[in-house]
C-alpha cells in the first residue's frame, strides 16, 4: 500500500522536474562528460598520428603500441605486476583470514588494541608510513627488489582482508562449528571442511578487492621499487614525469594498457562484489 503510494508520488515528481532536479542531473551529466573526456582523450591520443589542432588527430595508427611494447618492455612490467599482486593476495589471505576468524569469534584481553592497530594502516595515507617503512626496508636490504615491494604492499592489504572478513565470519552460525567439534573434528578439519567452503564467497571478494588495490597502488610501490621491480603504474609515472623524452602518444599507449588491465579486473571484481564494496568496507547484505 504505502509502497504503491510512494511510487506514485515519485513518478509525479519526475514529470514535474523541479529546478533542483535539473541542477542535480546537470551536475552529474557534467561530471560524467568530464570523466569521458579524461578517459577518452587518453584513448584517442594513443591511436592518433598527429594532433595539433582540431577535435581529433589527423589519422589513426597503432604504431605507438608496438613502440611502447619494444621500448618500455611492457611484457616484463605486466609480469612483475602479476607476480607482486599474486603474492600479496595469497599472503594477505593466509595471514588475514585466521586473524579475522579469531577477532570474529573470540574475546581476549587487548582485543580493542589489536583491532585498532589493524585499523591504523588503512586510515593513514600511504606516504606517511611509506617513508619510514621504506627506510626500514632499505636498512634490512629488502627494498629495491621484489620482496620489498611485496612486503610494503602487504601493509594495507592484510588489515583490509581482516576488516573485510571479520563481519563475514561473524554471520556464520557458530553452532555449526560446535556441532562439528562434537562429532570429533579438530581445529584443522573444522577450518578445512566446515569453514572454508562457507567462506569461499568472502575469500573471493576479499582477494579480488586486494588484487584491484595492489595493481593500482602507486605510493608504496613507488617508494620501495628498484629498476627491475617496477609495476605498470610506477613505470607509467616515471615515463610521464620525464616528459619530453618520449612522445605523449607513446605514454598514452602505456596508460591504455594499464587502463585495460584495471578495467578487466574491475569487470571480474563486479562478478563477486558490488560496486560500493570497492570503495568502502564490505556490508553484509548483497544488495
Amino acid at each position: 500500500m504505502t509502497l504503491g503510494l510512494a511510487g506514485g508520488t515519485r513518478s509525479r515528481r519526475r514529470i514535474v522536474a523541479s529546478p533542483g532536479a535539473w541542477l542535480v542531473w546537470g551536475a552529474v551529466a557534467f561530471f560524467l562528460l568530464s570523466l569521458l573526456g579524461v578517459v577518452g582523450s587518453v584513448l584517442v591520443n594513443s591511436f592518433g598520428t598527429r594532433w595539433f589542432g582540431g577535435w581529433f588527430p589527423e589519422g589513426a595508427t597503432t604504431r605507438w603500441y608496438t613502440e611502447a611494447w619494444s621500448d618500455f618492455g611492457i611484457t616484463e612490467l605486466i609480469f612483475v605486476t602479476v607476480e607482486v599482486s599474486a603474492a600479496v593476495v595469497a599472503l594477505s589471505l593466509l595471514i588475514g583470514v585466521p586473524a579475522a576468524y579469531t577477532l570474529a569469534r573470540r574475546d581476549f584481553p587487548g582485543k580493542r588494541l589489536v583491532y585498532l592497530s589493524f585499523l591504523l594502516p588503512i586510515l593513514m595515507p600511504p606516504i606517511t608510513y611509506g617513508i619510514p617503512l621504506a627506510t626500514v626496508l632499505y636498512k634490512f636490504g629488502f627494498a629495491g627488489n621484489l620482496s620489498g615491494v611485496i612486503l610494503a604492499n602487504l601493509v594495507p592489504a592484510v588489515p583490509f582482508v581482516i576488516l573485510t572478513m571479520t563481519p563475514f565470519i561473524e554471520q556464520i552460525d557458530p553452532a555449526i562449528e560446535r556441532a562439528a567439534r562434537m562429532c570429533g573434528a579438530g581445529l584443522r578439519s573444522v577450518f578445512l571442511r566446515i569453514l572454508a567452503p562457507l567462506l569461499v564467497p568472502g575469500i573471493l571478494a576479499a582477494g579480488i578487492l586486494v588484487l584491484v588495490r595492489t595493481v593500482g597502488m602507486f605510493e608504496l610501490t613507488f617508494l620501495t621499487a628498484g629498476p627491475d621491480s617496477q609495476t605498470l603504474i610506477v613505470a607509467l609515472f616515471y615515463s610521464m614525469s620525464s616528459a619530453g623524452i618520449r612522445a605523449q602518444q607513446s605514454v598514452d599507449a602505456m596508460a591504455v594498457v594499464y587502463m585495460a588491465m584495471m578495467l578487466t579486473l574491475l569487470v571480474l571484481a563486479l562478478r563477486f562484489v558490488n560496486p560500493t564494496q570497492l570503495v568502502a568496507r564490505v556490508k553484509e547484505e548483497p544488495e
Binding site: A27, L35, V42, I127, T135, A280
Partner: protein, 311 residues
C-alpha cells in the same frame, strides 16, 4: 615428574607442577587465552614488524638529525624554513576545499538518487571507474583533456565563453580537478550507502504530518546523516591530503602545489636525509590527525544511535 617430592614436603602449599600446568592453562583460558589464539599471531607479528616498528623507528630517527643540533633540530629546521613550512598550508589549501566540495556536492545528488531507479547499478559502476584507475592515470587524462588544446578548452572557445584557452593544468586547478575526479565518486558512493541505511518510513511519517521536502531533509534526514558525513569527510580528506602523483604531474611541484608529501619525498630520495624525511612524515601524520580529531569531536556532539535501516 617432580610432582611426588614436592607433594611430600611438609608445607605442601604449592600444588605439584604437573597439576599446576593444566591449572594455569585453565585460568588463562577463563580469561580468553588459549592455543587457538595462535591463529592471530602471524597477523600481529606482521603488523608490529611492518607497521608499528617502522613507525617508531621513523619517530626515533626524526629526533636524530643528520646535521646534529639537539633532538628537535629537524623539527626546528622544518618550521623555521618558510619553503618547508608552507607545504602544510598548501596541502590543507588543496585538501580541505576538495574534500568539502566532494562531500557537499554528494549530499543533494545522493539524496535525489536514493531509492531504486533504472540504471542505478550502471551509474555506480561508472563512478567506480575513476577510483579504480587511480590518480596517475587521471593525471594523464587531465593533461590531455584540460590542456590548452584539449577538448575542454576547445569547447569553451567554440561556445564563445572565453577568447583564449584558460590555463587549467600545471597549477593549483589541475590538482584540484584531479582530487574531484577521484574523490567525488568516493564520497558519493559512501554517502549513498549511509543514506540507504536511513529508514525511509521516518520521512514518510513526517510527510503524512505535513512536512515539506526541505523540512523532511533538514529535520529528519540531515541529523541522521551527520555522523556519516563526518566519516565521509575524514576519509575523503585523507585521500586528498596524501595527494602526491597528481601534484607532481598536473600541478606545479616546485611552487604552487609543492605539497607536504613532495617535501618528504625530496628529503628522502633526493637529499638522502632520512631523519628529515621522517620528521616531515611525522608532521604530516600529526597535521592529518589533528584535522580528523577536530571533525570527530564535532561529530560526537550529534546523535549517533540507530538509523532504523539496514546500515
Amino acid at each position: 615428574m617432580t610432582g611426588a617430592p614436592v607433594a611430600s614436603r611438609p608445607e605442601a602449599a604449592p600444588p605439584p607442577p604437573r597439576q599446576e600446568d593444566p591449572g594455569l592453562r585453565h585460568r588463562l583460558a577463563e580469561r580468553g587465552i588459549d592455543r587457538n589464539l595462535l591463529l592471530i599471531l602471524p597477523a600481529i607479528v606482521f603488523i608490529v614488524g611492518l607497521f608499528i616498528y617502522p613507525f617508531l623507528y621513523g619517530l626515533g630517527l626524526s629526533f636524530q638529525p643528520k646535521e646534529g643540533g639537539g633532538p628537535f633540530a629537524d623539527y626546528e629546521r622544518f618550521f623555521t624554513d618558510p619553503y618547508q613550512r608552507n607545504t602544510i598550508w598548501k596541502t590543507l589549501g588543496l585538501a580541505i576545499p576538495a574534500a568539502l566540495l566532494n562531500v557537499l556536492a554528494s549530499v543533494p545528488i545522493a539524496y535525489r538518487m536514493r531509492g531504486r531507479f533504472r540504471g542505478k547499478r550502471l551509474l555506480t559502476i561508472v563512478l567506480v571507474v575513476p577510483i579504480t584507475l587511480g590518480t596517475v592515470l587521471t593525471a594523464e587524462g587531465l593533461l590531455n583533456f584540460l590542456g590548452p588544446a584539449g577538448w575542454f578548452n576547445r569547447t569553451l572557445l567554440e561556445i564563445g565563453l572565453v577568447d583564449e584557452p584558460i590555463r587549467l593544468i600545471n597549477n593549483y586547478w589541475g590538482v584540484f580537478f584531479s582530487l574531484i575526479i577521484t574523490g567525488f565518486p568516493f564520497a558519493f558512493l559512501l554517502i549513498s550507502s549511509y543514506l540507504s541505511g536511513i529508514d525511509p518510513s521516518l520521512e514518510r511519517a513526517a510527510a503524512t504530518m505535513g512536512a515539506g521536502w526541505w523540512d523532511r531533509f533538514r529535520h529528519i534526514t540531515l541529523p541522521l546523516l551527520t555522523p556519516g558525513l563526518a566519516t565521509t569527510f575524514c576519509l575523503t580528506f585523507v585521500l586528498a591530503f596524501s595527494v602526491f602523483p597528481s601534484a607532481i604531474l598536473v600541478g606545479e611541484p616546485a611552487g604552487e602545489t609543492r605539497v607536504i608529501s613532495i617535501a618528504a619525498y625530496q628529503a628522502a630520495y633526493e637529499q638522502y636525509d632520512y631523519p628529515m624525511a621522517s620528521t616531515i612524515a611525522m608532521v604530516m601524520g600529526a597535521v592529518e590527525l589533528i584535522v580528523i580529531a577536530a571533525v570527530l569531536v564535532w561529530r560526537s556532539r550529534f546523535y549517533t544511535g540507530t538509523t532504523g535501516g539496514k546500515g
